[in-house]
Subunit: 267 residues, 2 copies
């Protein structure tokens, strides 16, 4: 038995392509429909109500495409709107906070740092999930709004990237041994973040752990696509396919070829 | 005769409050309805089609409030959607590009620099308007996407602000004698911009010139509110009044008291 229906992934923009890539690498037979809500990006500066409204909207689009699972690849949407998406469907719904929390708990022994958008940090989701799974864990979190702009600009190793990173992360130095990159836009900044914090701090990118959870959940529910045929990957955005392609290529490097993007009107 | 209907102003967010302030200072008897589309901000990274769709939406809301004029306080919307807003109504519609262009031409004798969002610069609106009014004028323009994030973060005079400004404006040095701040978010960065470019460059903030044009147009059309009673100022946003108040206060300083903001659902 092989369930060839696609996995649905949505993100506020194209940062979630890092999650798509991890899933595709682990589960190459799975087809994927990815929706980037580029007409309303970013979510990280918006209110809980608006984040829920947009997330439900995105999930409905994915369900209309016949997906067998929804992955919320945006940390901000995972932190604020996961329960609302779960209520929409009987199919499994997986956010990226879960993967980030599990990966961080595997790697930290002193204290965990969490960085993300204003809305993600305001939600307090990471500290509360970490402490639900491992009570008493020390967590320090901080919103780093300029990191998204840096990653989009492609400034990941210049003087500005170093100055911004020092300004934001100074307070973590010597206090944590793992840092959750709680926004899918942050991985391109790994190099400068590591150089500011030093080698004693493990950087946690939730994409791989999320892919592992996705695989496990599909297998457990008998929803896996099997066989050696590679799944089909479809990308949809709500605005400007050109810019999405450009920023997507910058985020993913040469690792995932993006052939084309469809513009959809879901608003 | 006094026409006490309000002037309508819209912006992608709350940066346009700098335009509201200039109009209120010049024309204190005028009432104003201001709409900040904070649920969909920013516009500067979006496509022309999406900018038009959102701008028309905002203008319709203002018209439903009985305004006698529409001021498009967002440079990105002024650059891409002014004609579409004009087509909606017989009332006068004024964008901020016009004011910026006129003010720059008054002050430049060598060449004019223009900075703005990606979408504003991509539109080529400033260079084409400047050359329509004064053919042959040399214009150098550059998108500075990180400036919005800096202004919102309140980082206007730290190491990061200086590094970002140097990186963006290096290429203008010695080549221009006036720089149009083509985004309502940029005025808080005037200090650092001036220090990087030196005193030989005049910084053009289109708010005051726009206010002058608004006053002239109202007078010409017999639409002025007269008398000594101060007009009423109403603010509406599409998301999160709390954050708007906070960022608004940071942008405006203590000069304009914001008493409260209404949340409206126009989407």
């Amino acid at each position: 038995m092989s369930d060839t229906r696609p996995i649905g992934i949505f993100d506020s923009g194209i940062g979630g392509l890092t999650v798509l890539r991890a899933i595709h690498e682990l589960l190459p037979a799975e087809s994927i429909v990815y929706l980037g809500d580029t007409a309303r990006v970013p979510y990280g500066t918006k209110s809980k109500e608006t984040i829920i409204k947009y997330s439900v909207n995105n999930a409905r689009f994915l369900l209309s495409q016949g997906v067998k699972m929804i992955v919320v690849a945006c940390n901000t949407a995972s932190a604020h709107a996961l329960d609302d998406v779960v209520r929409l469907t009987d199919y499994p719904v997986i956010g990226v906070v879960e993967g980030g929390v599990i990966a961080a708990l595997k790697k930290a022994s002193v204290a965990i740092g969490v960085i993300g958008t204003e809305a993600t940090i305001r939600s307090n989701k990471y500290p509360s999930e970490i402490n639900r799974l491992h009570p008493g864990t020390k967590v320090i979190s901080k919103a780093c709004p300029l990191f998204v702009a840096l990653a989009e600009e492609g400034w990941t190793d210049n003087e500005v990237a170093h100055a911004v990173t020092k300004e934001y992360l100074q307070e973590f130095k010597g206090k944590i041994d793992a840092l959750v990159l709680g926004c899918t836009h942050y991985p391109p900044l790994k190099g400068v973040i590591q150089s500011v914090l030093g080698d004693g701090v493990r950087l946690i990118d939730s994409a791989e752990e999320t892919a592992r959870i996705v695989g496990e959940r599909l297998t457990g529910l008998g929803l896996r696509a099997n066989g050696s045929t590679r799944g089909k990957i479809s990308l949809a955005v709500t605005d400007s396919p050109e810019r999405s392609l450009e920023v997507g290529r910058r985020l993913l490097g040469e690792n995932l070829e993006i052939s084309g993007v469809t513009l959809v009107d879901i608003i």
